[in-house]
Symmetry: C2
Subunit: 279 residues, 2 copies
Amino acid sequence: MKIGIVGLGLIGGSLAKAIKKNTDHSCFALDIDRAAIAGAVAQEAIDGELTTDTLHTCDIVMVCLHPAQTIRFILDNKANFKKGGIVIDSCGVKTSIVEAVEAPLKEEGVVFIGCHPMAGREFSGFAYSVDNLFERASFIMTPSDDTAAKTVREISQLAYEIGFAKVVTSTTEEHDRIIAFTSQLAHVVSSAYVKSPSLLKQAGFSAGSFKDLTRVAKLNENMWTELFLMNKQPLVDELDCIIARLTEYRDAINAGDADGLRELLKAGRELKELSNNQQ
Amino acid sequence: MKIGIVGLGLIGGSLAKAIKKNTDHSCFALDIDRAAIAGAVAQEAIDGELTTDTLHTCDIVMVCLHPAQTIRFILDNKANFKKGGIVIDSCGVKTSIVEAVEAPLKEEGVVFIGCHPMAGREFSGFAYSVDNLFERASFIMTPSDDTAAKTVREISQLAYEIGFAKVVTSTTEEHDRIIAFTSQLAHVVSSAYVKSPSLLKQAGFSAGSFKDLTRVAKLNENMWTELFLMNKQPLVDELDCIIARLTEYRDAINAGDADGLRELLKAGRELKELSNNQQ
């Protein structure tokens, strides 16, 4: 099979490297950054360059751009994909993407299925891409009501070949609601966490918990602004929830209420253990 | 030198193992849990058992109990320590501990210096203790105005011998204010984070950021209730700060304010990078 990758950033680059390492498919890539293409060819992460004129030669095209760019690229090139071929994306929100591109592609005889490879690092760009980024990761697919089972099977099989640990299917709405909690909220909380006047005094006074809580504050603000605003209500709901919970702890501490505080902490520990058991 | 350890939990047990592995000092331990003592003897983590009657034979006693127990043990045994010997603790708060025990020990001719080995795991007890827990950790000491330089030097040297990467001195107030941010706030935020209705749907939808943000929700609620209430005002201040910051992100997202949101995220990223450079 011939696979096209649009955008050789951290995700596109890592997908290319994993495809070349773990599968027999050929892999071609399109990127406006000449250095990324040259580097990928030199590292044999791709078999060659792809252009909008040769997009139609790919059986599957993986669009690995930021959300707004993903929509723009797909709509601008909707006539350039292979008829009967499959296009997938890799964005961290699904409803906005699928609503924008699925129908226009369908009119062109192209199948679209929203996808979200659940992996990342606090670095961006091809230079940080690695062939094992997805080894322990989930690959989420959000087929629509009329997506053919054959398409779901084909992409699912490809994800396992690439090396994902697990493939999950979901509606776009369920995906966006859960991701607001597991990923988006984590990035907002980390970003807010570092804004204490105590931050620049922490050297020598911190251990694992500080590092863990603040790791993803080092984010790409352009991409995450798009993702957050495309998933406004679920994320606002999660933020309202954690602000209300934090206020409960704050009030118990302020009141010196040992029993109440212990109960709040115990409930959190038990929920964490329950969630660990569901992995 | 003969070192006594009171309380063979995660910290006491790991200190014992590191002392036996990395130094030539002898090490004896006191614990109400017979199994911990028997295990430590069998693993050669200690040279033998310590009792309140033999406490006075130790040059340095490290009290590794929860905060309230630490104060109680030291006060109950203030006459049992070696005259001219040194007693240290290992609690995550310092002002309350030092205020409670320093003067009574001084009256008995015993030197106390508040200490905080900055390491931990999300597990408790001797069974989880390891000889390399402190390898990359800071050892914080909070000498009082009239602590002799000789004492600071002696404990500092011991900490390096044990294997700590860095020894830091601080006032008790500065320690408590910074720890409220680097450690206590992290535990409260993690505990609050898991209390979303989305929690039990997260399997298959989470990656590193969720794991990092929630790791320390698995805490010992008895110990942390004591620590939080002994450091009430600094922790309430940090909680007020993060709640106010989170509300700014929440409002920007709710208003669809892309420019404002991007600025908030950019400021967080830049602060995180600045703080990384200070490590």
